[in-house]
Amino acid sequence: MYRLIIKELFRSKVVILCMVLVAVLGILGLLIGKQFLDRQEVTTEQVADYQQEHIQRNVTYHSDDLGLLLYYIKFALINEPDKLAALSIGQSDVNPNVRQVTIRNLEGQKYDTDLVNPSSLQAGNLDLGFVIIHLFPLLIIVLTFNLLSEEREAGIWPLITVQSKSRFYYIAKKLLIRVVAVLAIYLLLFVVAIMLLQLPVNTTLSAFFLLGMGYLVFWFTLSFLVVSFGKGSSYNALTLLSLWLVLSILLPSGVNSFLTNRYPVPEALETMIDQRDGYHKKWDTNKRETMEAFYDHYPQFASYGMPPEEGFNWLWYYAMQQMGDDDAREATLAMNKKLEQRESASRMFAWVLPSMHVQLAFNQLAGTGQSDHLRFLEATDRFHERLRMDFYPKIFETQAVSSVDWESLQPKIYKKEPTVDWLAVQLPVWGGALILLAVSLIRFGRLRHREGW
């Protein structure tokens, strides 16, 4: 029986074409992911080389003034992506994974975006995540929309009635074979991914794999539910495609529009102006005021005292720079709060929208979500603080340029260890699938009862 059903399934050219198409696009997605990882790796190397050369050059030019030298030198903090990022590139194409900062005020340097082609950003990444979230459901629809209606419309339904013991089992078998076929492609893509990207097989990958699988099962149960209404092929195809359009495009993008309008972020623009005015306007006020504010922030430096009111002095200069950050602080906190609000609101909607949940959870597992970026920015804050705490005393004491071991100043690596919250990751899709399965079994029961089979 199974053999016949399999034969029947693969006789259709459309079915084979769709399967091949999804597999090919999945592999293209993996290649794109690989290119993304390779690019990040090259960038990391470039940054290391660049920093070396950049520091050497500036040290030779400004060998007699440490304050001036550190005005120029940029230090890099690299956000090393998890290899899973190749499967779900998420927000890491907009947000650069390298921050190069001088010890001057951070707010003016922190938010620099990456160099990317906006047209490509708009089209979106074709990563494995996209293939799973958008294309696999379409394949499932193609495979299941005529699960029941096919036989009816071809007029062989009475034949099956006579020949098989239970028509329900016959349909269940047909469905099962389709599930196995789709999951086989899904598994194949992961095997290719593991080999191509040398992914470590660990908890995060398992969670990722299981989540995607739950999502596919969810779509199967949804299809099954629609089929269980016992309507014709055209009706099913249209209903399922509309569901796909609503669930994986219209609702998520509608939610996004809603959140964008609900939580606008004017604070972002506020920070830009605040940090500039906070620093630049100090050139025109008296030095004492600036220094007092600076020593309020860093009492440990109070012993350097007050610089003369006339003339230029690095202690005063860096105190002014610090005021840029301090004055923008309020706006920055407000901006972060807005972003957190957007994030938590999205998560709330995601509980009832599987496509959204899977996208956000994929990004989270791969470390490419918005919150991961915010964590990286926090790491940048700490990195910048540490640099200043190291260099401030040296500059204020006008130490010689040679007193610093410049060779040792390599780019720093930031790496976040992903944690998996199993329940929150898996429950929305598996739970949804279970509910739908129960409902569709009940519907099927009714259909059987009504039609007497």
């Binding site: 030019y61 938010y111 975006t113 082609n117 708009q122 089209a123 195809a237 996004n256 500039r276």
Partner: protein, 482 residues
């Protein structure tokens, strides 16, 4: 072809289309989508522009409030350019969510345009953006396919097609009539969208009302054309399918390939084939070249030493203190000119790379009317890549002029004796000068420029119109009644 028959067929299409009860919930959903996206588009446009104008003004007030000071301090004080949205962006967001909105303009340095909506988004933006244009481009085709997939095939299945032909109608007339009927449904749905948009646009015409309304008119026309192409495709597919079910499946497949798969895949392939440089590589290449040319900050730099000697010789003096102008301002002017030229060259090369990445998608318009309308709609709504580049150029030009203006003030008003440094209350320029510098004022591309940029998409859409009309006549000789 006889007009009466065509009208008769079109009218009959209407009555059958609206007889099915399934269409009403569908129409309701589409209307709700249009209402939602229209209102959110308008709110977003209004709110964002208010925010940006507010900060542009705040930045300006801050600039003007500066006391007397050394002009080089002002060159570093700098100002901002906040990108304004074109009124029609409420209709089609285009790439705007992915482009930066604010840039700091200061001397010596071309800063990134930051804070794109995408960089502040939770990642949901990748599902697309719900705008009026998106509904018209992706949901409307499905609606038309649904309304029209059975238009001819059902008549054939029920045998009424034969009867119509026997009664004297020509196949060609039936196809044209059905198309017209379907197209009219689309136009009737489009009308309230245009009315709503027009209502929101009144009073938002920005600097050039003529331009906004011309774009609006052309936008309306191209969407009408797009819907005509869709209607013809629907009717032709229906006419060539033996069963209505097959027609529907074919149309859905067309939708999937043309709307979902092709645009993303073509862009992804473009990126894959023509990788662009990383930011670090881009910036370090510029830095290298600037240093090679000469570092105006390096006192021993041969280029700037030679420059100094030649300036001293030309004015027949021995030291820069004896020059009739401030030498620091002069050197910085030269430095700004050379470094800007180098930056612009690299920027151009980068944009060429992006252009290459976009070519596959642009040429896809020739075989995909969806891509054509998408590109055209963005261009007319002022939310395409060229519009963004134009903003970037305007900001950079303003930045350059501002820096050079400050260098000129330094040359003119600062004593040649103040060779270095810019702090302190002596050697300053009076603050009245600051308000004399004009503020950054963004201008939008003119209508002719927009059409120049989008000619390929416009041409392909027109081409599609011609092919579709030809197709319907060609098909009417090919298909059979049974």
């Amino acid at each position: 072809m006889r007009k009466e028959i065509i009208i008769l067929v079109a009218r009959q299409f209407w009555t059958t289309a609206f007889r099915s009860r399934a269409i009403y919930p569908l129409l309701l959903i589409v209307v709700m989508l249009l209402g939602f996206s229209g209102v959110t588009g308008w709110e977003n446009y209004k709110e964002q522009n208010e925010i940006r104008q507010h900060y542009q003004q705040k930045a300006r007030e801050s600039w003007e409030s500066n006391p007397d000071k050394h002009p080089h301090r002002m060159a570093h004080f700098g100002t901002f350019a906040f990108r304004l949205k074109y009124p029609l962006s409420m209709f089609d967001g285009g790439i705007e969510n992915f482009t930066g909105n604010a840039v700091f303009l200061e001397a010596h340095k071309q800063n990134m345009v930051n804070f794109s909506e995408a960089s502040l988004s939770t990642g949901l933006l990748r599902f697309g953006e719900l705008t009026l244009a998106m509904v018209l481009q992706t949901v409307f085709p499905l609606l038309l396919f649904f309304l029209g997939f059975a238009s001819v095939s059902a008549e054939r299945e029920s045998g009424t097609l034969k009867i119509m032909l026997i009664q004297g109608a020509k196949f060609r007339e039936i196809l044209v009539g059905k198309t017209l009927g379907l197209w009219l449904v689309a136009l009737v749905c489009l009308l309230p969208v245009l009315l709503m948009l027009g209502y929101f646009l009144v009073g938002q015409e920005a600097a050039d009302p003529g331009d906004v309304w011309t774009r609006f008119a052309v936008l309306s026309l191209v969407y009408m054309l797009f819907f005509m192409v869709l209607s013809i495709i629907t009717v032709v597919v229906s006419a060539t399918s033996h069963k209505s079910k097959n027609a529907l499946i074919k149309l859905l497949a067309i939708w999937l390939v043309f709307v979902v798969l092709m645009p993303r895949t073509s862009q992804a392939l473009g990126n894959y084939l023509f990788p662009s440089p990383s930011k670090v590589a881009f910036e370090s290449a510029i830095e290298d070249e600037v240093v090679q040319k000469g570092d105006s900050h390096n006192p021993d730099d041969p280029y700037f030493k030679a420059l100094k000697d030649s300036v001293l010789a030309a004015h027949q003096v021995d030291s820069i203190e004896d020059l009739p102008f401030n030498y620091g301002g002069f050197v910085m002017g030269v430095g700004e000119r050379t470094s800007s030229a180098i930056y612009n060259n690299h920027q151009e090369a980068l944009l060429e790379k992006y252009g290459l990445q976009n070519t596959l998608t642009e040429w896809a318009a020739l075989i995909n009317p969806y891509v054509a309308i998408k590109q055209l709609s963005m261009a007319l709504s002022g939310t395409d890549f060229s519009t963004y580049l134009d903003f970037q150029e305007q900001a950079e030009r303003y930045r350059y002029d501002l820096a050079q203006k400050m260098n000129e003030l330094q040359m003119e008003h600062i004593s040649p004796k103040k060779a270095q440094g810019s702090e302190g209350k002596e050697h300053v320029v009076e603050h009245e000068e600051w308000s004399l510098v004009p503020d950054f004022e963004q201008r939008f591309l003119s209508f002719t420029k927009v059409i120049e940029n989008a000619w390929l998409s416009l041409l392909s859409l027109l081409g599609w119109g011609v092919i579709a009309v030809w197709g319907i006549f060609y098909m009417s000789n090919k298909v059979t009644a049974v």
